[in-house]
């Protein structure tokens, strides 16, 4: 027996040069977790936060009560948008590497989350995304050109050069502005959903954070407020195992699943295979239905893996095994949906390759168009005077005079 206090230092199971080891991940066979009614009491469905809701099995069949039974068209829509997300990211990553945008973040390996959840929510539901939810903006109608122009900070930039690349917003698509400070959007989603309930509307809100961000106070504020007021909100934790170099155990304490974080507050948790398009869709629909019926919030943990670097400024080979993703037991979300569709007879390798080619052309065409609105080295240029706009609803006198002075300096006066 240990007789002294001790400090626990969480350590990942493998570092560079070591064999990847995902034995710490609790897995459930596809189809093995039951699907309760959406009005089940939290205390009766606690097991959903420790099991793993999976539909797509290793043999590519869809199994169990959580199978959403999507039709072929819906599956193709899902696959298309996931692929577009990946092809877009691939291209934008290269573009950053060529020095033509300053920064980029890809969603490699996590595409099913934005797309399946985007599809499961209604257009009037409000999304409060993190920085790896570009798929939500795409699915909800932001054009590739507009997204590229944002990354270029050019004359067509929706943020007029005020935000880092990838920090999009879409008012018409009901996708909130990405902050850059982690987790701040979580209480916004809760407050937004409270307002929806106050107004008697049936729109719900959804928000996303990573495993690392669950340590932020805003995560706990959001859960507390959501639980107290039974706010109609879906709070998602994208557990992609890594927060830059901080592995998920440094946020989880290597004890219990993130999905269980709400149980003490009475918030049900669903632990979901985050690389299983069908399971994500189904779990989101369940939580949305529960929220719309007055059942309050649900915390969904999406177990996935960050396939790429955190951002273009990161080098993951310094802190994790190079080939770790290949050993991740939940595979690649696009490959899994593709194989399922092939096994169902709705899809083929040839169609898949053709679609990828089409999407690459779409992205290339968009990139050509986006550059016409300006690049980092070529005009047209944004008017720097606009940097004083929108600080307030109306420009106060001190900003007006600063703007005049700045423009004088720019003109060499």
């Amino acid at each position: 027996m240990i007789t002294k206090s001790r400090l626990q230092i969480p350590r990942p199971t493998a570092r560079p040069g070591e064999e990847p080891d995902f034995s710490y991940l609790d897995l459930s066979p596809a189809g093995s977790v039951d699907k309760p009614s959406t009005d089940a009491r939290t205390r009766d469905i606690q097991h959903l936060s420790s099991g793993l809701i999976r539909v797509l099995d290793d043999d590519h069949t869809a199994k169990g009560q959580w199978n959403p039974n999507l039709d072929t068209t819906e599956l193709q829509v899902g696959l298309r948008w996931m692929l577009l997300n990946r092809v877009f990211d691939e291209r934008m990553w290269q573009i950053q590497r060529q020095g033509r945008i300053s920064f980029y973040m890809q969603a490699l390996g996590e595409e099913a989350i934005s797309i399946a959840q985007g599809m499961a929510l209604r257009p009037g539901d409000m999304c409060f995304p993190s920085y790896r939810n570009q798929g939500l903006y795409m699915y909800r109608g932001v054009s590739l050109v507009d997204m590229m122009c944002q990354c270029l900070s050019n004359t067509q930039d929706m943020c007029q050069g005020r935000q880092l690349p990838i920090m999009y917003q879409s008012k018409s698509g009901n996708v909130f502005s990405v902050s850059g400070n982690l987790g701040t959007q979580y209480p916004h989603a809760v407050g937004w959903a409270m307002a929806s309930a106050i107004k008697g509307e049936d729109h719900i809100a959804a928000s996303w954070v990573g495993d690392g961000t669950t340590s932020e106070a805003d995560f706990h504020h959001a859960l507390t407020f959501a639980a107290i007021y039974q706010s109609p909100v879906i709070l998602n934790v994208v557990n992609n195992q890594w927060a830059i170099s901080t592995f998920q155990g440094t946020a989880a304490g290597q004890r219990r699943a993130f999905a269980a974080r709400g149980l003490g507050l009475g918030i049900p948790g669903l632990r979901v295979d985050g690389n299983d398009f069908l399971a994500i869709y189904s779990a989101t629909l369940w939580a949305a239905d529960r929220a719309r019926r007055g059942g309050g919030p649900t915390l969904i943990e999406l177990v996935t893996y960050r396939g790429g670097a955190h951002s273009t400024s990161d080098d993951p080979t310094k802190y994790r095994p190079k080939d770790e993703w290949a050993s991740f037991p939940l595979g690649d979300p696009i490959e899994r949906l593709k194989q399922h569709m092939i096994s169902e007879g709705h899809w083929s390798e040839a169609k898949h390759e053709k679609l990828i080619e089409e999407l690459r052309v779409e992205v290339t065409t968009a990139w050509k168009k986006a550059q016409k609105y300006g690049t980092m080295t070529e005009g047209p240029w944004l008017d720097p005077g606009t940097m004083f706009d929108d600080v307030y609803a109306e420009m106060p006198q001190n900003l007006e005079s600063q703007r005049r002075r700045m423009l004088e300096i720019e003109r060499g006066e």
Binding site: S170, S179, P187, G191, M194, I228, V391, P396
Partner: protein
Amino acid sequence: MIEAIRSAHDIVMDRDPSVVVLGEDVGYFGGVFRCTDGLQRTYGEHRVIDAPIAEGGISGAAIGMGVNGLRPIAEIQFADYIYPGFDQIVSELARLRYRSCGDFFSPVTIRTPCGGGIRGGQTHSQSPEGIFTHVSGIKVVMPSNPYDAKGLLISSIESDDPVIFFEPKRIYNGPFDGDPEKPAVSWNSHPKGEVPEGHYTVPLGQADIAREGEDLTIVTYGTLVHVAIAAAKETGVDCEIIDVRTMAPLDVATLAESVKKTGRCLVAHEATRFGGYGAELAATIQKECFYHLEAPISRVAGWDTPYPHAFEWQYFPGLKRMSAGIRRVMEAG
């Protein structure tokens, strides 16, 4: 002033169903200072919401409500408690309109009692306005009397910009001239203690001349407006006293016009001196009025220590220090 603040809530809530109130103890109880008394009975639990003790959560949830078309008034029970909400206020509330080019904004008003003189010690006496005037994208307001409190609060709530509305709690129940030995005075006999019942506004961004004078301009706000008036009387110096009312954005024109007239300026606030808002006032006035100044601008402020419980009146920049400040500027140059 408490009734003026309560009345401002009542009037805007009656006119605009999108106005909601949330904060600790604001609902059933009506607030620890009674500023929301009776509102929950009138407007219901959905519009006057008792919040858990989480200022970060109150700030964050209020922002989300504002994004969804409500007009939230969030009460932070003491300005000293505002810091857990600091990131939400600075990084989100203040910058949302800017970062989204106006696509999203949240018209939250954060009300919070500030200042000392109530035996509150270092966690119930602070004046952190200078921390927020440094943040672009929020407006910062502090009234010094009931008439302004109601009019400025209605303007703040109706503004599409976020506002931090500081309420100097020492003058909640009456003006205070800085002498704790004197018996408390109520607002009844004060010219700005009279508050119209209906809707009216005092515009944001406009300073007020609390006392006209020829010899020296005192630029101040909140409780110290009353201390300045008493000090003018005590010293016999014909002071012009400017009540800033809105610290950000600042009404530079009114300040400059006065200092150009008097040629002398004393800047006063209860908050700590170093890096305080008074430094901005002094720098701005110097820029605008340098060639009219007959003496260096001087400051009266709280000492650069936390607000001590037992030495409250040694800390508080009261009548003695204000009068000494007036004499210092009059004797210089």
